[in-house]
Amino acid sequence: MKNNKLDTFLGIITEILLASAITALGLVISAIIFKVISW
């Protein structure tokens, strides 16, 4: 596969967004469990 600077830049952004989304998943799980135990 060919590497160019735009693809590299967009690739880094994609990866950071993916890692951030996985991190945000933790917040969602925390919120859901908090709601469940609050009932």
């Binding site: 596969m1 690739g11 469990i33």
Partner: protein
């Protein structure tokens, strides 16, 4: 077919191990310069002596083993396993000279912990070591995460098919580029670009939380190296808790997750194949098992009322689960908290997360996501074969960079490596239990060592008996090299001892 283990074989192994040693000696120049820059003269002298010793040993290996022969698979496996042991010993010299270690064995434990990106520490007074030694600790982790041989391949070792096998022996079984040197260069390019971004972001976070600019930069650099390499070392004994910063926690979570991705995945996404980010079997496997272990840990601790609000669930419990699952080992709670507050449910969730680990050909340890995915899909495949009509052709695909049809050999290989991991996890647990520690705590510590995670419930300590430390070193080393190179080394030693000078080709 078998062939004799000749003098030429020995020369090839010594020669290429020498090249790896030279690489280690050259990296050691960095903490030497750091020591000089910060006017830490005793530390600079320690590193000067260590560099001289390491380069001398490396050159002796090159002279003794001088050969123009190309290493084959058998040599490459031996080079990988022996290089890591020699690097551990030589890299431990500046630790020992610093006077902060109780013994040279402790220094070796720490360097193996660093190179394998485990992160467990044997230093007696971590808060008082020099900036140069702290730089060396984190540099070892950063180098080990990418691979010592991968580094040597970028500028010292001739790129041949045998050289690629050395990378396989080091647990990096991926062709990112057609050429092995370009593959090694691409791995370092990805790591260095993230090093610049991550250090910058962490330095700003450190500066804004009140650390002086130079030390904010050094802390940013060290913590990046630790998080990206899924290492777990930190410059202070309180680990990441020292910073008391939500920004530090979130940034290190993101960096740890990025570091646990397969280098082939990074390469594919950086090459324009951005859909790979959600199609890849390792990403899907990671998200699934991370969610399951997080739910177990958070729900278990919420039920016990250890933590009662969303922020604690996220910043404490989820942080430990991600740290365990990416096998990073950074921690914002004290070791004793696992035993005194988390209890069996919380510790079991962490043990599961550590055992599974991150992606193959990444800086992470554990079973690896691709093996979990393959074994799970293999199980589904077998169930389908039973449920479908006998004449139906059942085919299962997995997606890792490209679509692949799942076959029995893939499932068998993945399951076999997972079995070796389980044996290694149990080995340490049995030894620790024999020394009087409760089983769940022994298993926690053992899985942490063999999966190269680095979270601790308090067992690992410089006061431990030598046998526990030696078993720990073995677990970290075997887990990081994913067993094959270790078995080849043991097989060769047994053959030589028992006089059977025939080694399987």
């Amino acid at each position: 077919m078998v062939r004799p283990f000749s003098l030429d074989d020995l020369k090839i192994v010594i020669f290429y191990t020498g090249k790896v040693i030279i690489t280690v000696g050259l990296i050691m120049l960095i903490p030497l310069f750091v020591g000089l820059a910060f006017a830490e003269w005793p530390a600079a002298v320690d590193f000067l002596l260590s560099v001289a010793l390491t380069l001398s040993v490396g050159y002796i290996f090159l002279i003794v083993g001088k050969t123009d022969k190309i290493p084959k698979l058998f040599h490459s496996m031996l080079i990988a396993s022996i290089s890591w042991l020699v690097a551990m010993v030589l890299s431990g010299v500046p630790y020992y000279l610093s006077g902060h270690m109780a013994s040279f064995l402790d220094a070796c434990f720490d360097t193996m912990s660093g190179y394998t990106t485990t992160g467990l520490c044997m230093i007696r007074d971590l808060d008082h070591i020099s900036i140069a030694l702290n730089t060396w600790r984190h540099l070892i982790t950063y180098t080990g995460g990418q691979g010592i041989i991968v580094l040597a391949l970028t500028f010292l070792i001739i790129p041949t098919s045998g050289a690629y096998k050395m990378m396989v022996g080091e647990g990096k079984d991926e062709h990112l580029q057609p050429n092995v040197r370009n593959t090694a260069i691409q791995i370092w390019k990805i790591s260095l670009i993230y090093l610049i971004i991550g250090t910058l972001v962490l330095s700003i976070a450190g500066y804004l939380s009140g650390i002086k600019p130079v030390m904010a930069f050094m802390n940013g650099l060290w913590i990046f190296m630790s998080a990206w390499s899924t290492g777990g070392f930190a410059p202070y004994s309180q680990n990441i808790l020292y910073y008391h910063s939500l920004a530090f926690y979130v940034i290190t979570l993101i960096i740890s997750i990025l570091g646990s991705f397969n280098f082939a995945l990074h390469n594919a996404i950086w090459s324009g194949n951005r859909k790979e980010a959600w199609k890849n079997i390792e990403v899907r496997s990671f998200v699934t098992t991370l969610s399951i272990t997080s739910i177990i840990a958070i729900a278990g601790l919420a039920y016990k009322k250890v933590y009662t609000n969303i922020l604690s669930f996220f910043t404490i419990v989820f942080y430990q689960v991600v740290s365990a699952h990416t096998t990073t080992g950074l921690s914002n709670i004290y070791s004793v908290t696992f035993v005194k507050e988390w209890g069996d449910v919380g510790m079991t969730a962490i043990i599961l997360a550590m055992a599974i680990g991150g992606s193959a050909a990444s800086t992470a340890g554990g079973f690896k996501g691709i093996r979990m995915g393959i074994v799970f899909k293999g199980l589904i495949h077998e169930v389908k074969k039973v449920l479908y009509p006998e004449q139906a052709v059942v085919s299962t695909k997995i997606h890792h960079i490209k679509d692949m049809v799942l076959d029995d050999s893939m499932v068998k290989n993945a399951a076999l490596i997972m079995v070796f991991y389980v044996f290694t996890y149990m080995l340490g647990a049995v030894v620790d239990t024999a020394y009087g520690h409760p089983f769940i705590q022994s298993l926690f510590e053992s899985v942490s060592l063999a999966s190269n995670s680095g979270l601790s419930c308090g067992i690992t300590n410089y006061t431990n008996p030598a046998l526990m430390k030696i078993v720990g070193i073995f677990q970290m080393w075997a887990g990081r090299l994913e067993f094959m190179a270790v078995f080849v080394l043991f097989g060769s030693i047994i053959m030589l001892i028992f006089g059977k000078r025939n080694i399987a080709k």
